[in-house]
Symmetry: C2
Subunit: 451 residues, 2 copies
């Protein structure tokens, strides 16, 4: 395969590729609000069909459609699967956008819009890489599968049954995950895993309505119950106190720790942006990075009870609610952690609290010495001219475990994004240069995967 010809095709068709991405960005697809989902799924399917993939839509009751596309190689048995998503984060706060969030406005060499980077840019770059290979060589070097879901930004709640039902269809030798890009030094970044997340809500109840606080000596106060219960979960030294919470935590290997040393960690920039004198527990450098990537957490996302307006009000509230998330690391399991949480609170006298599970994904990672990791790193270095930075795991979450653990193949996350892409924030964008370079990288990667 002549990679040069493929690259030349990509360069020659840059305008068309950008146009297709702009078309996709212009189609809102906010899963949190259920806006434009069906239309966007159809657009993605059409785009797949136009480059020659055969497609299929999977639609779980109440879930958003999964768009699946595939094309077989004439000469290889190996299969590479791409996991992407067509849904996007809500664009709010709207007033902070320079252009309309679904305009796809091109300015200063960048395509602006919600989803431009995350994940429509990555999705289109992958589709265009396959198109380039097909157009130039009349074949693909390996079998290609696209798994494009519509609920990634809301925790992929309907994915598991589809994966389990059609597990043979989604089999592969390896998968490329949805996100990634280059860092400030232009180095390609590889992510080998994701933390899991367990979201819960704790609710304490009292009287059937708020009463005057003069009644405090005799009427139970759910705000106090909730404070006492939360206090049992984590101490001031950040130790999570739920019994056996750390039981299955896999400590990072020495190789993984070694990887951390190569990861750029923009400590001072982060502190400045957040107006913080220091990080939690005065963590710094490699210790802070190790905590960020390898440590499980228990976080209060929010709580509310009673009067929260200006000044004071002598009220005794009738309920109190807290939202928490636990970030889990390999080999913790969200169901197990939920069971431990419930048991722990019950054993300590808080069986009266209502504990609601809002969602979960499992932690997962692909070993750093997996041949597929080495291959992706090598191709990235070849394309970008700089040594890849390997994150043994990312601080974020997603349904990667279904592919890595249930379907059972190595998964690496790489992409065409860049540090100023404002993912999940106002003015999200994708540099056209990064988009095109990323398209070439994926074409090269598919080629190398055949060898």
């Amino acid at each position: 395969m002549s990679l040069d010809k493929v690259y030349a095709y990509i360069d020659a068709n840059t305008d068309d590729f950008v146009e297709d991405l702009v078309k996709l960005v212009k189609q809102p697809s906010v899963s949190a609000k259920g806006e434009g989902i069906q239309e966007c799924a159809e657009l993605v399917e059409k785009m797949m069909q136009e480059i020659g993939l055969s497609t299929k839509i999977f639609h779980e009751e109440k879930g958003n459609p999964v768009v699946y596309g595939e094309i077989k190689s004439k000469k290889s048995d190996r299969t590479l699967l791409f996991y992407d998503h067509y849904d996007v984060q809500p664009p709010e706060p709207l007033e902070k956008w320079m252009y309309e969030p679904f305009s796809g406005k091109i300015s200063d060499g960048k395509i602006y819009g919600r989803g431009a980077s995350d994940n429509k840019g990555n999705l289109v770059s992958r589709l265009k890489a396959v198109q380039a290979l097909l157009e130039v060589t009349g074949d693909v070097p390996v079998n290609i599968k696209f798994f494009v879901e519509g609920e990634e930004e809301i925790g992929s709640p309907h994915l598991e049954p589809i994966i389990k039902k059609y597990k043979d269809l989604f089999s592969a030798d390896a998968a490329i995950w949805e996100f990634g890009g280059t860092d400030r030094r232009g180095r390609p970044n590889l992510y080998l895993g994701l933390k899991g997340v367990l979201s819960v809500e704790l609710r304490a109840g009292g009287a059937s309505k708020d009463v005057h606080s003069a009644n405090a000596p005799i009427i139970p106060n759910p705000a106090w119950r909730l404070v006492w219960a939360l206090n049992l979960l984590k101490d001031k030294e950040e130790n999570i106190l739920i019994e056996d919470f750390y039981e299955n935590v896999l400590s990072p290997s020495s190789e993984e720790i070694e990887c951390l040393r190569n990861i750029p960690f923009e400590e001072e920039e982060t502190k400045k942006e957040l107006e913080l004198k220091k990080f939690l527990q005065n963590k710094s450098g490699i210790e802070a990075l190790k905590a960020l990537l390898c440590q499980p957490t228990c976080t209060i996302n929010g709580f509310v009870s009673g009067y929260t307006g200006k000044g004071s009000k002598t009220v005794l509230p009738h309920e109190a609610v807290a939202k928490l998330d636990f970030r889990l690391v390999p080999n913790q399991n969200s169901n197990e952690i939920f069971r431990k949480l419930v048991k722990y609170l019950k054993n300590r006298g808080f069986g009266d609290l209502e504990i609601i599970k809002h969602g979960c994904t499992e932690p997962t990672k692909t070993p750093i010495n997996d041949p597929f990791v080495k291959l992706v790193a090598k191709t990235a270095e070849k394309v970008y001219g700089k040594r890849a930075v390997v994150y043994p795991i990312s601080a974020g979450s997603g349904p990667m475990h279904l592919f890595r653990n249930f379907l059972g193949y190595p998964v690496v996350s790489v992409g065409c994004s860049h540090p100023e892409a404002n993912t999940h924030a106002p003015n999200e964008n994708l540099k056209i240069k990064s988009f095109i370079k990323g398209t070439k990288f994926i074409a090269a990667l598919i080629g190398d995967f055949a060898l």
Copy 2:
């Protein structure tokens, strides 16, 4: 003095008295919103002048006017002061009212409207008692002073400087406080004191904005800081843990405990209304009542941080706020408790929290064996034909301490309300029968006070 003639005058003028009360109820005077305050103060002053009192308005900068009225007795040196307020609670929730809250609608022998009982009904009954004495006897048996403020429902924040500046003017031999009435068995209730209250706000800060909860291992979470700080204030057994919090608490005397035994405590009705299986710590009967009246408290009125909407959001909040009130009993002092709170949190590593004082009043009580208490109880028994029920202290709060402690005379709270008056609630009302009986009671009381 012929009390019979006074009573006859009151009976003969019932319609006029009711008309005056309706006029006052029709004038909104919601101190929480600053609505109609000036107009209501003027109406009160006019009503005082019409019955022959000389009046004076005290107006602190930013405060609502205090309406003061007095009339001297030709034959007595003794002075009785009435403390009342013309401001009312907000009428919300409006949809639960049978009639417009400021309509003064008369139905079924009741005057409906916000303030009908609390405190316009009591205020008018006292003014009309003085009017009856003046009209029938051409004199008042003792010097009479009316101190009618406009900020009782918002904690009387501007009262202290006025009292301190004009202390000679407000001198008296005793005072009747603003509230009270008969209970379900028709017995007149006397209240000899009030708890104090200290309202505070605790604020914990973190980063300058909310961040993604994936950052939890390195970014401080103010919601956790606040939980840990609150947890230090009170334990699960309801012990307030602030150092020396209970230092000056005066235990109720055996005489006071004896009083408690005569107090009707509607335990089952309260539980039913609030859908509670049991009171806090399974308290019941005299123990519950003793706690309610004699125990200091630390109450979370409300708290808020981060995401509090539906479902979950993986956010790490940038601030957390809690509102608390402490109910104080004699001889605690709000400034001292505030200092102890600040010191305690600082000593335990929470010096970073912002602690805001929103307001305070001091606890106070008049001894149960004070001659004025005996006199009020005796007159009440004479008028109502039933033995008075004496509350050594009430669970509520107010600026009584300024009169009892600073001005230094005995204070007893009695009034013309009744159990179905819905004070502070929708459909507040005053039975015309109770209003007229209460007017007679005050007239008799003024007469007895001269003896």
